[in-house]
């Protein structure tokens, strides 16, 4: 049966080394026409490296690659595009200073002559309308001004626009990581339509439900190898998690009744655009969720709380030191020139001092403590932060915040592109720290994560529209509030 499907792309024995690290260790992988292949595995399992090879951005150190049955000897990005293979990478790649239309033009050299900007705008607008109805993005918007969720929508839509080059296979690397449940659903149903019309997709996601429901076949990677590959119907969640290794089975967040007595007030905040009396209140030891569709004022409120900690602001009361875990880590979190240890230490410099000078020993101790505690996978914390995979970079940002003196931790959708094993570890850590009295304000686009929260504020158009206790929390309720007309 499988043989009957013509291969779009096939890799045999692909290998890749980065120094001593074997990112890929002899991987066989193929995608057939009209097939959606789900690719799962922990951070650092080699998924992204494999996809870089399919897209032509990385050359294998060993093995062959064939497209539509023809061996490709000098495979490259240009060749991949010529053959109709495109990729939406996890690290968003729009030029921030260009408009949405101009960014679209970059992928379509054939849009030349007078009026190219208008034609590019029409092209991307039509595709955005098709995939994400009511997307609210204008083709004239400058990419850098869009929220990370909207940038991701543009990026995905752009990959599906069509001019001269053919389009056979689109690689979607964590396409829903910055999207809320509603938009993610729109994207996934579009993917199914695309596949139904004979296109092919590779879907990488840490949200296992997405992969199970939308892929035809699932490939599981671990430590640079393919460890399982089978029809999607042959997998269930537990088998997937077991194949990935690590986290044992699916654990539902323990909902044991937490102590009901209220702790000291930590944060009281009213969003700038709130017209009624609703406000966010967080007390010591609480985990508070911020939900709703992406980009509806959750991040703005977190940032307002963050600045209110340094300088008093009207409508916001903060009574303890604050730290923030960025979700958009490239622009809000990472210091690219620095080592992992320095990236962790920056929030705690005052405590790392010995007299006037920062003590290298204390800085190393802090880094080593969190390396163990949160499981950052690296041989040496003095390596550059970019030697880590995306999920491990995110762990370093968690370590920065949790290793600091902050009693209030703001989390700006920090689990983007983080594998399930890491997530479960971090959830445990967050609950453990909350039990010690820390307060967490947690904006997330993944409804599942809200299970960890004591109560949840739902946002719409920059306002709080609902305040749900944990026991009344359901996905339907959140979606209902997000779309409701309640002011």
């Amino acid at each position: 049966m499988l043989q009957a499907i013509a291969d779009i792309v096939r890799l045999n024995g692909a290998e890749k080394h980065f120094g001593a690290v074997r990112a890929l260790n002899g991987v066989d992988f193929h995608v057939g026409a009209g097939e959606c292949v789900g690719l799962v595995g922990h951070n650092g399992a080699g998924k992204s490296t494999l996809m870089h090879m399919v897209a032509g951005t990385l050359r294998p150190d060993g093995g062959q690659i064939a497209v539509r049955g023809n061996a490709e000897t000098s495979y490259s990005v240009a060749r991949a595009l010529e053959l109709g293979i495109r990729c939406v990478f996890q690290e968003l790649s729009l030029c921030p200073n260009l408009s949405v239309a101009e960014n679209t033009r970059i992928n379509h050299p054939s849009l030349t002559g007078l009026g190219w900007r208008r034609r590019a705008a029409d092209l991307i607008r039509a595709k955005l309308d098709e995939i994400f109805p009511d997307h609210g993005i204008s083709a004239d918007d400058i990419a850098g001004d869009l929220s990370i969720g909207r940038r991701q929508m543009v990026e995905v839509a752009r990959a599906f626009t069509l001019t001269r080059e053919p389009l056979h296979l689109v690689i979607l690397d964590e396409p829903t990581s910055s999207l809320d449940a509603h938009t993610a659903g729109q994207l996934l149903s579009f993917v199914r339509r695309f596949v139904g019309q004979g296109g092919s997709c590779i879907l990488i996601s840490h949200v296992l439900g997405e992969v199970l429901q939308n892929a035809d076949r699932i490939v599981v990677m671990r430590d640079g190898k393919v460890v399982a590959a089978d029809a999607a119907s042959a997998f269930d969640r537990d088998r997937l998690v077991a194949a990935m290794g690590g986290a044992e089975g699916h654990r539902k967040a323990p909902v044991e009744a937490r102590k009901a007595e209220a702790g000291a007030l930590r944060v009281r905040a009213r969003p700038a655009r709130q017209e009624d009396g609703k406000e966010l209140v967080a007390r010591a030891g609480e985990i508070i969720g911020l939900a709703g569709l992406a980009g509806h004022g959750q991040t703005d409120l977190l940032l307002a709380i963050f600045s209110a900690a340094a300088r008093a602001r009207a409508g916001i009361e903060v009574t303890a030191p604050v730290a923030l875990v960025a979700g958009d880590r490239q622009s809000d979190g990472i210091f690219a020139q620095w080592s992992i240890a320095q990236n962790i230490g920056i929030r705690s410099l005052a405590r790392l001092r010995n007299g006037l000078l920062i003590s290298p020993r204390r800085e190393a101790e802090l880094a080593e403590f969190w390396k163990q505690k949160i499981g950052i996978r690296t041989p040496d914390m003095n390596n550059n932060i970019f030697s880590l995979s995306g999920g491990n970079q995110q762990k370093a940002l968690f370590a920065r915040a949790l290793g600091s003196d902050a009693e209030i931790v703001l989390m700006d959708d920090p689990m983007r592109g983080v594998d399930i094993g890491t997530k479960l570890e971090v959830y445990d850590l967050v609950r453990e720290e909350a039990a010690k009295g820390r307060t967490f304000l947690w904006y997330t686009t993944e409804t599942e994560e809200l299970d960890n929260c004591d109560h949840v504020y739902v946002f719409k158009n920059g306002r709080i529209v609902a305040n749900l206790r944990r026991d009344e929390l359901t996905e339907e309720k959140i979606i209902q509030s997000s779309f409701g007309d309640a002011a």
Binding site: F306, A310, A323, L324, A326, S331, D332, G333, I334, F335, A336, Q337, W338, Q342, I346, R347, L349, A350, R353, L356, L357, I358, P360, N384, F386, R400, S404
Partner: protein
């Protein structure tokens, strides 16, 4: 062998190598004559570039667009202020130095106020400030040709075993600056801001205060430099700082500090300062005319920056 490789990976090693090559070329030309004297002279003159170079290094490290173009005017004004306050009297030396320091720091603080309050790009703010400073200097110092107090002039020219005392003190100062850059909260904050100002803010760095301190520090170093130059050249004058516009930026870049910000080192400022002075001496020794000398200096700086600045982008 391993330590040699480590040494070669230091970004500042190339500026010292350049200085050594230029020195060797010159004494090869003179047949070994004046080798020691050349080093002494180079140290004496490099001091002035190093002092402002360190200030400029901190400013440039704040990130793209940050630069202090008011240094020449600042040096000119501070030299006049220092000489006027000292008034030729040895007892007023310390007061005069403090006055120059305060004058420079005030200029730096005003620079940052322009940048912060009016949101003017630093390049424009410091350049326009420098016109104002220069005008003040012209009206303040008109017709004055105040000599430094003899004690101060002697001090700036003092040597021990052929090494200028000023150079020794500057070495102490630069060691302090290197510690501040790598091991103090201030330096870490500057480096963080230079890499990603938004991430620095979100990591709890007090961005406004650190930028203010940096511009003020750079101004103060320009001020003290003006006073020392007036002592060394025996008199203040409006144009005394002119060559330090290009020189202060050149030593930073040649020394291996990233123009894109976030990455800096202090030793390179020394190496590059020596390199620039020795380069001039070499061209003088070769008997090159002034015009050609300027052209060659410019070309060499461009060449060095191209060769040393071919930094691989991260990812």
């Amino acid at each position: 062998m391993a330590s040699l490789r480590m040494l070669l990976e230091k970004p500042w090693i190339w500026s010292f190598a350049g200085a050594l090559v230029v020195w060797l070329a010159t004494i090869a030309f003179t047949g070994g004559y004046g080798a020691g004297g050349m080093v002494t002279a180079a140290l004496s003159l490099a001091v002035f570039t190093v002092i402002v170079g360190v200030g400029q290094m901190f400013v440039i490290t704040l990130g793209p667009g940050n630069v202090d173009l008011s240094l020449p005017a600042n040096i000119g004004l501070a030299s006049a202020v220092a000489m006027k306050v000292m008034g030729g009297s040895d007892s007023m030396i310390v007061v005069g130095l403090l006055a120059a320091l305060a004058c420079g720091a005030a200029i730096g603080a005003i620079n940052y106020l322009l940048i912060w309050a009016l949101r003017i790009p630093p390049i424009i703010a410091t350049l326009s400030a420098s016109f104002i400073i220069q005008s003040v200097d012209i009206s303040y110092g008109r017709g004055l040709q105040i000599k430094p107090p003899p004690g101060f002039a002697d001090f700036t020219n003092l040597q021990v075993l052929g090494i200028p005392v000023l150079a020794m003190l500057t070495v102490v100062f630069t060691v302090g600056a290197a510690l501040a850059l790598q091991r103090m909260i201030y330096g870490r904050s500057v480096l963080a801001i230079g890499q990603n100002i938004r991430a620095a803010w979100l990591a709890g760095v007090n961005v406004g205060r650190v930028r203010f301190l940096t511009y003020t520090l750079c101004g103060a170093l320009g001020g003290i430099d003006g006073a020392l130059l007036a002592g060394y050249f025996r008199g203040a004058n409006v144009d005394i700082g002119n060559e330090y516009l290009l020189a202060s930026i050149a030593v930073v870049v040649i020394g291996g500090t990233s123009v894109a910000g976030g990455k800096a080192n202090v030793p390179g400022v020394w190496g590059a300062g020596l390199f620039l002075v020795l380069l001039l001496t070499m061209l003088n020794t070769f008997g090159v005319s002034a015009g050609v000398r300027l052209v060659l200096t410019g070309l060499i700086i461009v060449g060095v920056i191209t060769a040393a600045g071919g930094e691989k982008a991260v990812r």
